[in-house]
């Protein structure tokens, strides 16, 4: 459901809180076009200096995995404990590792 009765599509809003950080999803809004989506996002999500940069993207342009956390989609990483540094036993007296 991305078109409401007024016909304004739904946008997702991402804010970069300050330099050096990633853009983070903060919510959504309706707007007639990209420009209006940016302006509305500024007024709605950054009224108190919450951001230095904004992304807006139409919700129907987002491709998502299924929401289930036990989804087989994420299974490939489930059994690869050797990807984590703690998998390896190193003697305590070996420095800097």
């Amino acid at each position: 459901m991305t078109e409401n009765k007024a016909g304004w599509p739904l946008y997702e809003v991402f804010v970069r809180p300050r330099r050096g950080l990633n853009h983070v999803h903060v919510g959504s809004l309706h707007a007639a076009d990209d420009r209006m989506a940016l302006l509305n996002a500024r007024d709605l999500y950054t009224r108190r200096n919450e951001g230095v940069s904004l992304w807006v993207v139409r919700s129907d342009a987002i491709c998502a995995s299924t929401p289930d956390e036990q989804d087989p989609f994420f299974a490939p990483s489930g059994d690869k404990v050797y990807r984590h540094p703690t998998f390896y036993d190193i003697p305590e007296d070996v420095p800097h590792i």
């Binding site: 409401n4 007024a6 016909g7 919510g27 809004l29 007639a32 709605l44 009224r47 299924t66």
Partner: protein, 316 residues
């Protein structure tokens, strides 16, 4: 048991496990229909309250006593519009449409908080609304930051941060008036007298008369009962009233040493029922105003869309 039955059962077990472990339910998760319906009703009502809530104070925008007070009041009304939008967006993640919710509000099929059906007669009301009404709203809303439905909980985190400004500006406004003339102090007391009981009613009917509370608590949508939150609000507010130098209009108000809280009188529940039914002092006016704003704004929404369409075509 058929395959669908057991499939449904497994989904329900997953849902119960997520809620039971105090994790968050997210938009595309399976959820019981009644859970979804309860959330849509509650979030929509909450969103409508923010939008309608702009009106009582909006009444004073053009007559604020100074540019400073006017700028503050404008910022507050803008926050309320923002809160309404966060909440409509949260409701939309449950598969409803914002335009449809607005229709339901102006057709009277969905409700908003009864508090906004009282008039704002003096500028002291602006202060008392910030102090008591927003104070009560904060009491209600802080536990909602831990609501089991993720988008609602996240919207509440943003809202609660901003509400704190609303409450403090109200209290500061009242402190300023209390330092003024005798007439100004009387104006504050009069506003407190009118808003105290309706503020207590914001927490809803007493627990014995609140049939949905138990289920909402089991689903961790609600974390405390109406009466618990009301008590918390009274305990927080009495010392603030003392500091301000106003009298809360309740002769039964007394410190109870034994349980470490304030005893207080029973609100007039028949009044709350009347206001919810639509018979409060301003119900008709509030909805009419919202309807007019919606209908008068239709051409703007259509023009914006036509403009977007024209630009899209010329870009092709």
């Amino acid at each position: 048991m058929t395959a669908t039955d057991s499939g449904e059962r497994a989904l329900e077990d997953r849902f119960e496990a997520v809620v039971g472990a105090d994790q968050r339910v997210e938009p595309r998760d399976w959820m019981p229909e009644a859970y979804r319906a309860t959330l849509v009703r509650q979030i929509a009502q909450h969103a409508h309250s923010e939008i309608i809530g702009m009106q009582p104070e909006g009444n004073w925008l053009t007559r604020a006593p100074s540019l400073r007070r006017k700028a503050i009041l404008l910022a507050k009304a803008q926050d309320e519009a923002g809160h309404g939008l966060y909440l409509y967006a949260a409701a939309e993640t449950l598969g409803v449409d914002r335009a449809e919710l607005t229709e339901k509000l102006i057709d009277g099929r969905q409700k908003y908080s009864s508090i906004f059906n009282y008039p704002t007669l003096t500028f002291a009301d602006v202060g008392v609304i910030g102090w008591l009404v927003d104070g009560a709203a904060i009491c209600n809303q802080v536990p909602l930051c831990r609501c089991s439905y993720g988008p609602y909980a996240r919207a509440m985190v943003r809202i609660c941060k901003e509400e704190s400004f609303h409450q403090r500006q109200g209290y500061e406004l009242l402190m300023t008036l209390m330092r003024g003339t005798e007439a100004q102090r009387a104006m504050v007391q009069d506003a407190v007298d009118r808003w105290w009981w309706p503020s207590l009613m914001m927490f809803g009917p007493p627990d014995g008369d609140s049939p949905n509370t138990e289920r909402s608590m089991a689903w961790r949508i609600k974390r405390h009962t109406n009466d618990e939150l009301r008590q918390r609000f009274v305990d927080m507010t009495v010392p603030q009233a003392q500091h301000l130098g106003v009298t809360l209009p309740d002769p039964a108000l007394a410190w109870n040493e034994e349980r470490g809280g304030w005893d207080f009188g029973e609100p007039d529940w028949s009044e709350l029922k009347q206001v919810i039914k639509g018979n409060g002092p301003c119900n008709a006016e509030r909805v009419e105003r919202r309807r007019a704003a919606h209908e008068d704004g239709a051409w703007v929404r259509e023009a914006a869309l036509a403009h977007a369409e024209k630009k899209r075509r010329s870009a092709q």
